[in-house]
């Protein structure tokens, strides 16, 4: 009965998303479903508007985030994952360790901010690269490509978290509470 997130926005199923379009559709939809337009109607209608607006917010947040979108697509295609899989990919394990060490090094550096910014640029470039790959893998959506997409989604999530940690460290250094 409930529409999936792509149907909700009348978008084609896939990893590539035109952000401007999504944003605009999101606003158009909120314009018609938001509870504020129903504040003078019956309680049942207000409740329905609240549910609808909540669902659209959730769909928008999921589709506009590269990691959440990837995991949503994986479940959409029925890819079953057993909890958090530890990576067999030794190369990526090495990479994770290197990036973690780089973050620690930035923290201890004499002039930490530029070091941190370099690291962040690096992290974001890798994220971009993975996201481009995910576009193709999800377009293909064969059993093999979806398995690879699942692995890459985990990598992307690691990078996104690292990026957040970089932000947090920057906050700390700048004294932003």
């Amino acid at each position: 009965m409930d529409k999936d997130y792509f149907q909700l926005f009348n978008l084609q199923v896939g990893y590539a998303i035109e952000m401007q379009q999504l944003k605009q559709l999101f606003r158009e939809l909120q314009k018609v479903v938001h509870p504020d337009h129903f504040s003078h109607t019956s309680e049942a209608q207000r409740r329905m508007a609240m549910q609808k607006a909540t669902q659209i917010n959730d769909a928008y947040q999921t589709l506009s985030d590269p990691v959440k979108r990837a995991y949503y697509l994986l479940s959409y295609y029925g890819v079953v994952r057993e909890g958090e899989r530890t990576h067999q990919d030794t190369q990526f394990l090495m990479e994770q360790m290197e990036l973690r060490e780089a973050l620690d090094a930035a923290r201890c550096a004499e002039d930490p901010l530029p070091v941190l910014q370099d690291l962040q640029t690096q992290v974001r470039e890798r994220m971009q690269y993975l996201m481009q790959g995910l576009e193709q893998l999800f377009t293909e959506h064969s059993v093999e490509s979806l398995q690879k997409a699942a692995d890459d989604s985990d990598k992307l999530r690691f990078l996104q978290r690292l990026d957040e940690e970089c932000q947090a460290l920057e906050d700390e250094l700048l004294g932003i509470i």
Partner: protein, 620 residues
């Protein structure tokens, strides 16, 4: 056809009836009330022509005095005169005692209730009751100016208010007999007032420095949609703190003994006057009189700027964070709007202009702009405007749960658009565990100790299983007021537990009910009469909305469905003017139920219209 009968005049309420709605800015220092009259939002004056009501409440043996008169007696009767009560809203005694900025009132906690109470000459008063006195005065002012009952109010709160502070504000409104249409964030209200006034679009930064709180919000304005992108701030930073630094400087320079609460108040008043004088002068003379002695000292703008500079810098850090959370740079900002009396301080304006590299807007009186925006939103929510604008607001602080090891797992991150619902699964960590403690937290830090505890509850009766086998789904829901409710359910058995989050140091529903009863003179009769009126108003509202809906979208229903709806509608019309609330309530619910499918179809229709209005070509 049956439908035609029900639209006949006299049978139902007048269509498009104009209702009185107000916006209230319940400020730390001053409060205001505004309303939309003949299409224009304006603040309402008292009988002396004053718009600002000082947020000061004095209790005497005979009565409760609010406003200017109370303010004047603050230094002669300091313990019975409560100033800046907003700072105490939703705060525990511990928090108040740990913060030296609070003036030394006599406070205590009653047994079985964790709400701090002020000891006054007429008995104990909570911050909620004291705030409700201010709201009552504003409500009366609006009723006499507008000439009628107030159907609803939008009350503003600092964007950075947490759940406890919001709940306290809502409780105060309930005590004052106001129907709250919405708790609206102050900077969002200001953006609304500016946006509707100027028609400007793009990225707007609202810098709101009031008496006791600081907020910065970044909004995107486009075609009548006001979308909050991020918000940051500090609920304990404001003009009062400027006064405080001047006061400390005075005490040090003049070597004043400050044990006495009256002297403290006197020094704070002098500091505040000096601050205001320096808004358009380079120096000011401060004279402190004690017994027969008089002492004078000159405060220059230079010294003043040095004193407050660290405080203003703190606000700039919050601006930086708000920009970052919105993923924007300083250059992306189109306008900066200044709100709150403390933005009159020249150093504040200078530093902001410098930081954003553009001159801030001060076109609308910074004291009034929040109330004006609130009145506009109230007018939309009460149904007086049909084409209305839309506000999309966010939660200011992350919400989460305590997990193993005193850590906080975030469920909803800050700056998430509301309304929002998020669920997360948890499991048991011991074999045979049958209960799970849920501890709800608010804040950005990783450790439970550094976040605010909102509520605790327990999910009991989980069947004994091996550790990790149970699936407990905890759901967080934040409504459009920014208020949270939490529920938990064990998925293999369906055992559930649900609470409306009432902070551990908030008032319980029972306490509110009792206070409401106490505040009414002929309690029982009044409550019954009020309930009847409420149901009648609700019935009118539902009938009017349904008639409009049928007129617009009646074609979405089959003849049989229409007949069924009008049958239930006629039943409601039949009981509406009786003198009993219960049957009216029952038939409203029945009608609600009968029109559910209709409502669903109408919503689907408007969704499809919204989506089909755009082909891909429409987008840049």
């Amino acid at each position: 056809m049956a439908l035609l009968q029900i639209s006949e005049p006299g049978m139902s309420s007048v269509p498009h009836q104009h209702r009185l709605a107000i916006g209230i800015d319940l400020g730390t220092t001053n409060s205001l009330v505004a309303s939309v009259r003949s299409g224009k939002a304006e603040t309402l004056a008292d009988m002396h022509g004053q718009h600002l009501l000082p947020s000061v409440v004095r209790y005497t043996q005979e009565q409760c005095i609010v406003g200017q008169e109370a303010k004047q007696s603050a230094s002669i009767d300091p313990l019975n005169t409560i100033v800046s009560v907003k700072r105490y809203m939703g705060r525990s005694l511990e928090e108040i005692n740990n913060n030296s900025e609070y003036i030394s009132y006599k406070l205590y906690e009653k047994e079985n209730s964790n709400v701090p109470r002020f000891i006054t000459v007429t008995g104990d008063k909570t911050a909620i009751e004291i705030s409700s006195e201010i709201l009552k005065v504003l409500k009366q002012r609006a009723e006499s100016t507008l000439g009628g009952d107030i159907s609803g109010a939008v009350i503003t709160v600092p964007a950075y208010f947490d759940d406890a502070q919001r709940q306290a504000t809502k409780d105060a409104a309930a005590l004052a007999g106001l129907k709250v249409l919405r708790l609206l964030n102050e900077p969002t209200a200001a953006a609304l007032a500016y946006g509707l006034d100027t028609g400007d679009e793009g990225i707007q930064v609202i810098y709101d420095l009031g008496g006791g709180t600081f907020d910065v919000s970044i909004l995107h304005l486009h075609k009548g949609i006001f979308e909050v992108m991020s918000t940051a701030g500090n609920t304990a930073l404001g003009g009062d703190d400027f006064d405080q630094t001047i006061a400390m400087w005075l005490i040090e320079q003049l070597q004043i003994e400050t044990q006495d609460a009256g002297i403290q108040r006197q020094i704070m008043n002098l500091a505040c006057q000096a601050k205001q004088a320096l808004s358009n002068k380079d120096s000011t003379e401060i004279t402190f009189a004690l017994d027969d002695k008089e002492m004078s000292i000159c405060l220059t703008k230079e010294i003043f700027n040095t004193l407050i500079s660290p405080l203003v810098d703190k606000t700039l850090l919050a601006c930086r964070r708000a920009l970052r959370d919105a993923k924007l740079k300083v250059d992306d900002v189109d306008n900066i709007v200044m709100v709150g009396g403390s933005t009159r301080v020249p150093l504040v304006r200078e530093k902001i202009a410098d930081f954003f590299n553009t001159q801030p807007l001060v076109d609308i009186d910074p004291d009034k702009v929040v109330a004006i925006g609130a009145a506009q939103q109230a007018d939309v929510l009460i149904g007086n405007q049909s084409d209305g604008m839309l506000l999309l607001d966010v939660i200011p602080l992350s919400l989460g749960l305590e997990t193993m090891g005193g850590l906080v797992e975030k469920i909803i991150p800050r700056n998430t658009t509301i309304p929002v619902a998020k669920a997360q699964d948890f499991t048991t960590f011991k074999d045979g565990q049958t209960a799970l403690a849920v501890h709800v937290m608010q804040g950005e830090r990783e450790l439970v100790l550094d976040c605010r505890s909102l509520a605790r509850f327990e999910l009991r009766g989980i069947p004994p299983m091996t550790a990790g086998a149970a699936r407990i789904r905890v759901t967080f829901e934040v409504d459009t007021d920014g208020l949270l409710s939490v529920s938990a359910q064990e998925n293999t058995t369906g055992i559930s537990s649900c609470i409306q989050v009432k902070p551990s140091y908030g008032l319980s529903d029972n306490e509110i009910e009792t206070m409401l009863r106490d505040s009414m003179e002929h309690a029982q009769d009044d409550i019954i009469a009020r309930k009847l009126r409420e149901q009648q108003v609700e019935a009118d509202r539902v009938i009017e909305a349904l008639e409009m809906a049928l007129e617009e979208d009646g074609n979405l229903l089959s003849a049989k469905e229409k007949e069924e709806i009008s049958r239930v509608l006629i039943e409601l019309l039949a009981v509406k003017n009786d003198n009993e609330a219960e049957p009216i309530k029952y038939h409203i619910e029945k009608l609600d139920h009968a029109t559910q499918v209709f409502a669903q179809r109408r919503m689907d229709k408007s969704i499809n219209q919204a989506l089909s209005g755009h082909s891909v070509i429409d987008f840049e």
